[in-house]
C-alpha cells in the first residue's frame, strides 16, 4: 500500500465512530500496535519534549527504507504516533519527503498538531521529515 492508501484506510476505519470516546477507545487500542522502541534508543537525543507528554522516536535505515520505532508516556499520544508510524514505517526517504499527511485532519485529531498541545507530535512530524531528508542525501552520496 502507498502512503496515501494507508491514510485512506485509517480515515475509513475512523469513519465508523461517531462518538469521541469510541474514537479515543480505538486510539488507546492501537497504541498497543506501536513497534516498541528499544530501551537503548530511549535516549535524550531521541526525546522530543513537550510540556504535556514526552515522545521518543528512533529511525534506522534498513534496505534503503526507514524503520521507525517510538514511544510516549501518554497513551493517546502513543496511539496517534502508532498511526503515524503505520503510515511512514518501511518507506524510502523519497516517499516520505514527497508525502503529505492529511489523515490526522480528516479523522478530527488536528488539534493534536497545534503547538498549544505541546505534546511533541508536531515536532515528531518535523523530525520524521528531517530523518527522510538526511537519509536521502546519505543514499545519494
Amino acid at each position: 500500500m502507498t502512503i496515501n492508501e494507508i491514510q485512506d484506510s485509517i480515515i475509513e476505519e475512523f469513519s465508523l465512530f461517531d462518538d469521541w470516546l469510541d474514537k479515543y477507545n480505538y486510539i488507546i487500542e492501537i497504541a498497543k500496535d506501536l513497534p516498541e522502541i528499544a530501551q537503548e534508543f530511549k535516549t535524550n537525543d531521541n526525546l522530543i519534549t513537550g510540556c504535556q507528554s514526552k515522545v521518543w522516536l528512533n529511525a534506522e535505515l534498513e534496505n534503503n527504507k526507514i524503520r521507525f520505532t517510538a514511544d510516549s508516556d501518554a497513551i493517546i499520544t502513543k496511539g496517534i504516533i502508532s498511526l503515524l508510524v503505520k503510515v511512514y514505517d518501511n518507506r524510502t526517504p523519497q516517499e516520505i519527503m514527497d508525502s503529505e499527511i492529511y489523515f490526522i485532519k480528516k479523522i478530527g485529531l488536528e488539534e493534536n498538531l497545534s503547538p498549544t498541545r505541546a505534546n511533541g507530535l508536531l515536532s515528531m512530524m518535523k523530525k520524521i521529515k528531517l530523518y527522510a531528508l538526511a537519509y536521502n542525501s546519505k543514499l545519494n552520496n
Binding site: W20, Q52, T77
Partner: protein, 406 residues
C-alpha cells in the same frame, strides 16, 4: 451557600455554550477566568465611544479616558486598601510586575553576594526573574521548602535568612497545590529583620479580601485576567518608600518629565513605571471586574468557593486510585490530582471531549513536580460561577477516564 450562582452564571455568556456533546464545564480558572457581561460591555463601550490615548490629548475624548483610567487606579487602590494612588502601577500582568520589581529593585538594592529568598512552590514567573537578577548581580537565590502536604516549612525561614538577605518573594496562593500561605506571618518575620516582601497575588487576589496595609507587604502583584478582567493588564502595588527609590524599568513616553540628549528627567510615581501607551482600556475593564466581584463580596466568594472545593475534594477522594497533591489546611479552590497511573495528558484529553476544561501538565511549577517525582498533574481550579452539578460531571468524567484506560 449564600451566592445565587444561577444568577451569576447569567452574567457570563461564555459559560452557556455547548461544546462537543453538552455545556461547557470550565474548571481552568487558575489559568484565566471568564469575563462577566459588565466587563465585556465596558470594553465595547470604550472602544466604540470613548477611545483616545490618555495623558496626552487636550481634547474631550482623551480627557474622559484619562479620567476613567485614573479612576481605575483609585478604585484599585481602595480595593487593595493601599494608602496612595501612586502606589498602584499598571503593568501587563503578574509576570511583568515581578520582572519590573526584580529588575528595578535589583538595580537599586541588590549587590554581589546578596541573597534573595523564594519558595519551592513558586510559579516559574516568580523564580526566573530572580535568577536573571542573581546572574546579573552575582547574588544568590535561596529556597524555602514545603512538606508533603504542600505547606511551607516556615520554621526553616529563620535559618534561611541571613544579614545578606535583601528580599523575600513568595506566592500568596500556590497555583498548583492551592496552598494559602501564611504571608502575614512571613512578612512579620521578614520585617523584624528589615527585609521587604513581595507577594505574588496571581492566585490570591480573586479568592479573598486582600488588604495590603494589614498584610504590610512591600509589593503585591496580580493579573487582571485572573480576576475576571481583560488580558494584558495587571497591577503592581508597591510601597512608595521603595518605588520612589527604584529606577525606571522601561524608558519611553509618559515616564519622563523632560528629555534632552544630555539628560532625561523621569516623571513622578506612578508614571515613572508606565512607559509607553498603557493598556488603559484594559485598566478600565479591570476596574469594572473588581467592581463586579466587590458587589458580590469577596467574603461571599471565598465562602462559596471553599464549600465547593470541599465538596469536590471529598467526591474526588472517593474515587479509588486518586491522589490529590496539596493537602494544606488553608487551601484555595485549586485541586491537583492524578488517577491510577494514567498520564495527566490522557486524563485532560478525555475530559475535554466530555466538555470539561481542566489544566494538565506542570502548571509552570516544575520544582513542585520534581518534589513529588511526577511529570505533571490534572488541575481543576474552581470559581464562584461553578456549581455542585459541574463537580459531579467532573467526578463522572474521571471515572470514565479510569474505565477507558484500565
Amino acid at each position: 451557600m449564600s451566592l445565587d450562582v444561577r444568577k451569576i452564571r447569567d452574567d457570563f455568556p461564555i459559560l452557556k455554550q455547548n461544546l462537543y456533546s453538552g455545556q461547557l464545564v470550565y474548571f481552568d480558572n487558575g489559568a484565566t477566568t471568564q469575563k462577566p457581561i459588565q466587563v465585556l460591555d465596558i470594553l465595547n463601550e470604550y472602544y466604540s465611544k470613548h477611545n483616545s490615548n490618555i495623558h496626552r490629548g487636550i481634547h474631550y475624548l482623551s480627557e474622559k479616558t484619562t479620567q476613567a483610567y485614573e479612576k481605575a487606579r483609585t478604585n484599585i487602590r481602595k480595593f487593595l486598601n493601599a494608602k496612595l494612588d501612586e502606589e498602584i502601577i499598571f503593568t501587563s500582568g503578574t509576570t511583568e510586575g515581578i520582572n519590573l520589581i526584580a529588575y528595578s529593585f535589583g538595580e537599586k538594592y541588590i549587590h554581589e553576594g546578596d541573597e534573595i529568598i523564594v519558595t519551592r512552590m513558586e510559579h516559574h514567573s516568580n523564580i526566573v526573574p530572580w535568577q536573571m537578577l542573581c546572574e546579573r548581580k552575582k547574588a544568590k537565590l535561596k529556597v524555602l521548602d514545603f512538606d508533603v502536604h504542600g505547606v511551607l516549612k516556615i520554621e526553616e525561614l529563620d535559618s534561611l535568612i541571613t544579614d545578606k538577605t535583601k528580599i523575600i518573594s513568595l506566592t500568596h496562593v500556590s497555583n498548583t497545590l492551592g496552598t494559602i500561605n501564611p504571608v502575614k506571618e512571613i512578612i512579620q518575620k521578614a520585617h523584624a529583620k528589615n527585609i521587604p516582601v513581595l507577594i505574588d497575588g496571581a492566585q490570591g487576589i480573586q479568592h479573598q479580601d486582600v488588604d495590603v496595609q494589614n498584610l504590610d507587604c512591600d509589593f503585591y502583584v496580580f493579573s487582571g485576567h485572573k480576576i475576571y478582567g481583560p488580558t494584558g493588564i495587571g497591577v503592581v502595588y508597591g510601597k512608595k518608600e521603595y518605588l520612589d527609590e527604584m529606577p525606571p524599568y522601561k524608558g519611553g513616553g509618559d515616564m519622563i518629565k523632560t528629555v534632552t540628549f544630555e539628560k532625561t528627567v523621569y516623571n513622578d510615581l506612578p508614571f515613572k513605571f508606565e512607559a509607553g501607551t498603557s493598556n488603559y482600556i484594559g485598566a478600565i475593564g479591570l476596574d469594572h471586574a473588581i467592581r463586579y466581584i466587590s458587589d458580590i463580596g469577596l467574603k461571599n466568594i471565598a465562602n462559596y468557593e471553599a464549600e465547593l472545593a470541599k465538596y469536590a475534594t471529598n467526591q474526588l477522594s472517593n474515587i479509588p486510585g486518586i491522589t490529590i497533591y496539596g493537602r494544606a489546611e488553608e487551601k484555595s479552590s485549586i485541586i491537583s490530582f492524578l488517577v491510577d497511573n494514567i498520564h495527566h495528558f490522557d486524563v485532560g484529553m478525555v475530559l475535554d471531549k466530555m466538555n470539561i476544561a481542566v489544566r494538565t501538565g506542570t502548571h509552570c511549577t516544575q520544582p513542585i513536580m520534581d518534589f513529588f517525582e511526577i511529570s505533571g498533574t490534572v488541575r481543576a481550579s474552581l470559581s464562584f460561577y461553578n456549581t455542585v452539578e459541574e463537580i459531579d460531571l467532573l467526578v463522572e468524567g474521571v471515572k470514565k477516564v479510569k474505565s477507558l484506560f484500565n
